[in-house]
Subunit: 371 residues, 2 copies
């Protein structure tokens, strides 16, 4: 085994560290993708994902690709060429939704808000009323800025005008309560490497019966064969018709990660994320790092902090590299317009612990003290 | 760790068993997807994949999804709406190529051959000459029938008329020699769970400079954002621009699997596959199972056998289930028109060993002896 043995504390925007227990579960001997013993694990994963997503949606499954493919699966199934979509853009991942929807041939109406702020439900509602879109899409926890967005109000406005709703839960699932059915969300996607603390590679997705129905009456085939919900449903929906070979080992790992989430309980887990984030913000203040996002809409699992002037630009990249090389700690830089200006510090899943915050603060203090 | 501990001998069309060494490599502690220590592993994987694909293509990478997504990546990048494609159909996977290409808006000309036979290079050449397609696409090792197809002749005809060539190497890579550059293949995809004996979840792909150039002059964006070669190239091509989070653990596993392939050497590995297949065919004959495919075009890693009349239909499914439950051995049934009529027995990667053939034969003899 020549793989790098070095241990990192992964405090960037994901992946987070994966506990030994989960890594060993994924290392179990393989089963075939039609083996009843594997299908039982798949059923267990679906059931646990439903509870975590807060939904009764039968079509809830771990898509065989990363979170970005989950986004694409939701949008290309629900949109046809010429359909209108209203998309909330509060950062890179809302932006990406616009790109993906455009490539599906949709007419995209963007509702934008500056980086570090949350979408205004009224602005979304006005656009929805004006455009009467087929789909309204936005991000729960915007990973590029660390902002938590209002879900229920926007979804309500969308539903009131007959639109289907798509929600990005990549960074929220497992760290914040998610309640798809209460909120009225028709399609949601997440990823395994954030607050679930499972290796990257799968995108948990869930589709409401309304969404499935809409896919069933499309005038044109879904542009992606790999992501076609009706074909995915043939395997994951219970008939177990071969579509593609499910990633057995990754699903073993996800099953174990979901067991750990439920053993802890989502309330305790959410509280743990809040506590760790509070300790981080408190500890960073004396070092000159101020939160980018105001407290009421700040994510617990991903804190973006403005860098002191002295660190902006090249110095911040050097400092991140020193943290990695000398202390084994990874933190994330800014994306897009925020590159070089902010850091994104993730305390996700198993990593949301004050001991990890202390380790980061100790390393930072050592690096920042006058020479 | 509650994941099923039961061990299966996986002798279906994939997944094959994954050696402990590979599973433990994948269970190593995580690194970030931009960590230099991880990027070194990614570089190593790309270099080993190039050698195995027989190519110098710089853009060679493990796509973050299963083999079917690899097929889709090749076709949707190289085809635009209205483009002509000539596709060789010798089974389910050639058929799937037609479906994927059609969804990309291509005009598909099918060149078909009955299940169990190989494409006629002349028939392909005639279609290519008539249609002058942008893309010619076909399967090296057709997993639904167990047929090995002629690659060099078809690729030559395609190149002679300026077409780009796409080759499915899902079942061949790691079991048969693959020589993309010698053959003149522009885009190829494979999967990890067949002759590489790595867990399913990644699709090794390789694109020639001509293919990359073609993508660069497209008139329309690639319909899939997730599979867009120019975006994938931004990360995998060396600049390491964030596109999606690479599946770190799966890539650790692939790296180890590729190390094992090279330690053995591809010649020895191919010979091992041939020997195991010969032992299988010899051993099955007295039991009434005859090869579907004539010897000259029969795959070594996947043998399809016609079932004795007494086993066709429901009895074959029952017998497969008994093999699984009582003997821990999985074999594959037929797909499509061949369902209920053939079995597909895989001796792939680490599983291509005469000891495994013996175990299967012993189990079959026990099940088939008169009560």
């Amino acid at each position: 085994m020549q793989s790098p043995a070095r241990e990192r504390l992964l405090l960037g925007p994901g992946p987070s560290n994966v506990p030994e227990r989960v890594r060993q579960a994924a290392a179990a001997p393989l089963l075939g993708h039609l083996d009843p013993a594997f299908l039982a694990v798949l059923d267990e994963v679906a059931e646990r994902l439903r509870r975590l997503f807060g939904t009764g949606n039968p079509l809830t499954l771990p898509l065989s690709a990363t979170g970005s493919a989950g986004m694409e699966a939701c949008l290309v199934n629900l949109l046809e060429a010429g359909d209108d979509a209203v998309i909330g853009v509060a950062g890179v991942f809302g932006e990406r939704m616009c790109e993906v929807a455009s490539r599906a041939g949709a007419r995209v109406t963007r509702v934008e808000t500056p980086p570090g702020t949350a979408l205004e439900p009224d602005a979304m509602a006005q656009a929805i009323e004006r455009v009467r879109p087929k789909v309204v899409s936005f991000v729960h926890a915007e990973t590029s800025t660390g902002v938590q967005q209002p879900v229920a109000e926007i979804a309500q406005a969308a539903r009131a005008h007959g639109a289907l709703t798509v929600l990005d839960c990549v960074t929220s699932l497992g760290g914040l309560p998610v309640r798809l059915d209460d909120w009225g969300i028709d399609a949601a996607y997440s990823a395994t490497q954030k607050c679930l603390s499972v290796a990257p590679g799968l995108a948990p997705v869930s589709f409401s019966p309304r969404a499935v129905e809409r896919v069933g009456v499309r005038a044109t085939p879904v542009q992606s064969w790999f992501l076609d919900l009706s074909l995915l449903g043939g395997y994951y929906g219970g008939d177990r018709v071969y579509h593609h070979t499910a990633p057995i080992s990754a699903i073993f790992g996800l099953a174990e990660g979901l067991r750990m989430v439920e053993e802890e309980g989502m309330d305790a887990r959410a509280a743990r994320h809040r506590e760790a984030a509070a300790a981080l913000v408190d500890g960073l203040a004396p070092l000159g790092f101020a939160p980018l996002v105001e407290a009421s809409i700040r994510l617990p699992m991903l804190t973006s902090v403005k860098l002191p002037n002295s660190l902006q630009g090249a110095p911040e990249a050097n400092l991140r590299r020193r943290l990695l090389d000398a202390h084994g700690i990874e933190v994330g830089g800014g994306l897009g317009k925020l590159a070089g200006k902010i850091w994104r510090i993730g305390l996700m899943g198993e990593n949301a612990r004050t001991a990890h915050v202390e380790r980061l603060l100790t390393a930072l203090r050592a690096e920042l003290q006058p020479a």
